[in-house]
């Protein structure tokens, strides 16, 4: 019945996923040992348009992917996790990129939130027909 709100709610969920991926990247910017023993890989979120055949349910969905980029090498032979050449592997995360992505995600979230409020007002007024 109130399915327009679901459209923006799906986008809010997707942007939240985006924000959590960015947070994870920034938190792990100096992580040289990940969960499986390899270097942490930068996470990215792919947004794709979602719609069913009848055009009833619209929206967006986000899927998490791990980027397969080369590691950033820092020469530090004294470090216990250094490899045979004396290099320590760090994830190749660009701080400027993450911060701009953060702004994009935040603005997208805000836009959808204010749209939900507008749609909610419209539904409220619809329920007052004939009063």
């Amino acid at each position: 019945m109130f399915n327009i709100i679901d459209i923006n709610a799906s986008s809010i969920a997707a942007h939240k996923e985006y924000l959590s991926a960015i947070s994870n990247n920034i938190a792990n910017i100096n992580t040289s040992v990940g969960i499986n023993g390899n270097t942490y890989k930068r996470q990215a979120v792919v947004f794709s348009e979602f719609r069913d055949k009848m055009n009833k349910n619209l929206g967006v969905k986000a899927s998490l992917v791990k980027e397969n980029k080369n590691d950033r090498l820092v020469y530090d032979p004294a470090n216990p996790v250094a490899d045979a050449n004396g290099n320590v592997h760090y994830p190749d995360i660009d701080m400027a990129q993450e911060m701009t992505d953060l702004i994009t995600a935040q603005r997208g979230y805000e836009a959808n939130l204010s749209t939900i409020n507008v749609v909610k007002d419209i539904y409220k007024q619809t329920l007052d027909i004939g009063r």
């Binding site: 327009i4 923006n8 942007h15 947004f47 055009n55 836009a111 204010s114 419209i122 027909i129």
Partner: protein, 118 residues
Amino acid sequence: MYDFSNILTKLDTSMENLKIISDNIANVNTPNYKKKYLSNNGFENVLKMKKDYSNHLDGINENSYTIKEDSRAVREDGNSVDINQEISDLTKNNLQYVSFLRIFNKDISLAKSVIGSK
């Protein structure tokens, strides 16, 4: 009898437009998404054209509208949603919807006063 079908069509069209604008805003960060819009929707087409002669051409049929895609890409990721445009469309559509509602409520109160109920 009172005929509310005309105003109900308007409300439905406005609701459909709201759904499309919501979808556009939801997909503001989706690569290669193309902005959707309803063509033939607006105050200009609210009133039906009166014809003196049956040979005259019809006006635009306001009940028919189609969902079109704006295929121009304004951003590098192939997305053609302009968020400023969408928010202003949202506000415009909201005002339209509210004014249709107001007309509808006036119609109903008119009908109520005719049948003497309060």
